[in-house]
Symmetry: C2
Subunit: 362 residues, 2 copies
């Protein structure tokens, strides 16, 4: 089904309102989810709405959190999200980082006691809009095994760096630190296809191409796949995200991170509060005049776009460009939603007694 | 040949003194190189000394740089290295970052007009010694092709994150953002062996296992290897390093980064000054008490060390641990140097009229 941005936005806001969120929080949470759908990151948009509702149903999400700074210096802070939606906790934290950067050049905020925060790129882009460099990362449900292990110890732990350009869209590096994100397995599952070697291992630690392997004790592999191809680097990046998001903030980390799926209970021996994020902002003009930076980043982008191609049909893709293009297209033509997600969402509509999703009038 | 730390240190200092460095700079530059040799990162230690001397011989390294802050806010700065050795410019920059962090919680410094800075871990560890989290990255000679391209556009652009632990050694993630670093090709070349698929492509963009492929127009691949295995992520990380180190600082970036090897001339149309680095420091107690952080990082480390093993002989390796162990061993037993490097170094000794390297007296 193709749904307009505004219809999907209203629907999503209504769900958050029914969960007991304030108007402002419902609007913000919907904006974060919609930005994923608009940018073509379908796995992180409204497809996750039922997941958030289920966690709320288990009292694992507080719809009216008292989000608080619990520790700070002029340019650093730790925030307790009071078990709120990461979708509202992380933007709050990024606002704090931006204010600190406005005053002192940079701002860095570790967040504990939160929940999943949607796409990292949303939060990093808040800084970019202020001519700052944005950072955002989060730990997540353990699905990834470190190099040499067959135990799920880490989430797909994304890291995001975003930079404002001049005539081009911002450069946004927003990536899971695993070889492949969970969403790619779901696509293969729906299509009944195998996945490439190097994404997954089975319970014993052998490569497998079965996209269902996580259900039988398998695990995702870090970026790099195996040691020979640098999986220790993917593990190192994932560890960095986990330490900054979890250990630094006082959240859970490693295998103690509470699972996103409500049918799995959180560990009974937590080492911290909820899941953790880490965000930051640095003023570009803390280093050089904004126009100088943007002009040079434009030169960087155009030079990379003109790099010699292996296949004449496919040039270098600037990080963030496909998502930017998707946003323009989907704002104009609507957001495609697969049937399974439409059904899930309309189950929610029935339960909460709100209008179901419908395609735009012809 | 096995050489004692102190003999190698004196030898290296003497070379830098003969290049015209001050006593303090010679001592510092030698300390950075020695730390690589001690930590087992042989490719970045004294093996590079002849490379630095050749660049100096071409007037591309200024032995007496006037290193200056050219732009700053309370927590950010840009430093011009005056074409000095990265081995002294980067520690200067990290001192600035640490001072800013002491005062405001964090400090971030972009560096232009520098040269290769040795191992990133050295600089990041300076922050760790002050109970701070350390960041260090640098761009480098273009050898790596972005995804979908067969043109060398990026260096192996390492990024490093370092965290102070309690009873364990610091966690140090120090990694090239390419699938494999150049040093690994050199090892295969010396051994007359092929390298794994996924490290390199030939001039046309086909995978090759020939470790000499860079000499015939080939290129290194980003971490991930190919698109299906996430090479766009390795490219994104490398781009992040290049933008922070080069575009933000006013150094060269992308294919304009001047080559480390003196027989290749720098591009005649530079977009900035020299090569660039980016370093940073955040006070741990800007987020939570140092002891809380260290205790939790110890828990993190011990939990990961006890993760289930695929092969009972090989557990999870904590980032930074092998290098820490190597340092203990080599400080005690000496540093092994391969014959080719000993010969190179003793050629330098002859040229500069200093004592050649010799094994310790029996």
């Amino acid at each position: 089904m193709l749904v307009t941005e505004s219809a999907l936005r209203t629907f999503t806001q209504n769900i958050f309102l029914k969960m007991g969120c304030s108007e402002a929080h419902a609007e913000l949470a919907a904006d974060v989810l919609l930005s994923a759908d608009l940018r073509g990151v379908d796995s992180h948009g409204v497809a996750r709405l039922t997941g958030y509702v289920r966690l709320w149903g288990k009292n694992r999400i507080n719809p009216n959190p008292d989000i608080k700074i619990v520790h700070e210096t002029p340019t650093t802070a730790t925030i307790d999200g009071d078990a709120g939606l990461g979708l509202v906790v992380a933007p709050f934290a990024m606002q704090v980082a931006i204010q600190k950067a406005q005053q002192y050049g940079s701002g860095w905020v570790a967040i504990r006691n939160s929940n999943h925060f949607g796409i990292a790129g949303y939060h990093a882009l808040m800084a970019v809009e202020k001519d700052m460099i944005g950072y955002a990362m989060t730990n997540a449900s353990p699905l990834v095994a470190p190099t040499f292990s067959n135990e799920r110890m880490l989430g797909t732990n994304p890291m995001c760096y975003a930079f404002p350009a001049g005539k081009y869209p911002p450069v946004i590096v927003d990536m899971a630190t695993s070889a492949a994100a969970n969403g790619k397995l779901e696509i293969a599952q729906r299509a009944g296809e195998q996945v490439p070697e190097g994404w997954l291992q089975d319970k014993e630690g052998n490569y497998t191409t079965d996209p269902h392997a996580l259900k039988t004790g398998g695990s995702l592999l870090p970026l790099g796949g195996d040691r020979e191809h640098g999986s220790h680097k993917g593990f190192g990046l994932s560890a960095t995200v986990d330490i900054l998001s979890g250990v630094l903030s006082g959240a859970n980390y490693g295998p103690w991170v509470p699972p996103f799926v409500a049918f799995l209970e959180p560990p009974t021996d937590p080492v911290g509060l909820g899941i953790g994020h880490f965000v930051g902002a640095m003023r570009v003009d803390g280093f050089r005049p904004v126009d100088d930076f943007k002009n040079n980043l434009d030169t960087w982008i155009s030079r990379f776009k003109s790099a010699s191609k292996i296949n004449p049909q496919q040039g270098v893709i600037i990080p963030g460009e496909p998502e930017y293009d998707a946003q323009i297209e989907r704002k104009k033509n609507g957001i495609p939603i697969v049937d399974a997600v439409v059904n899930d969402l309309n189950e929610l509509a029935k339960r909460f007694n709100i209008h179901p999703l419908a395609p735009p009038a012809p």
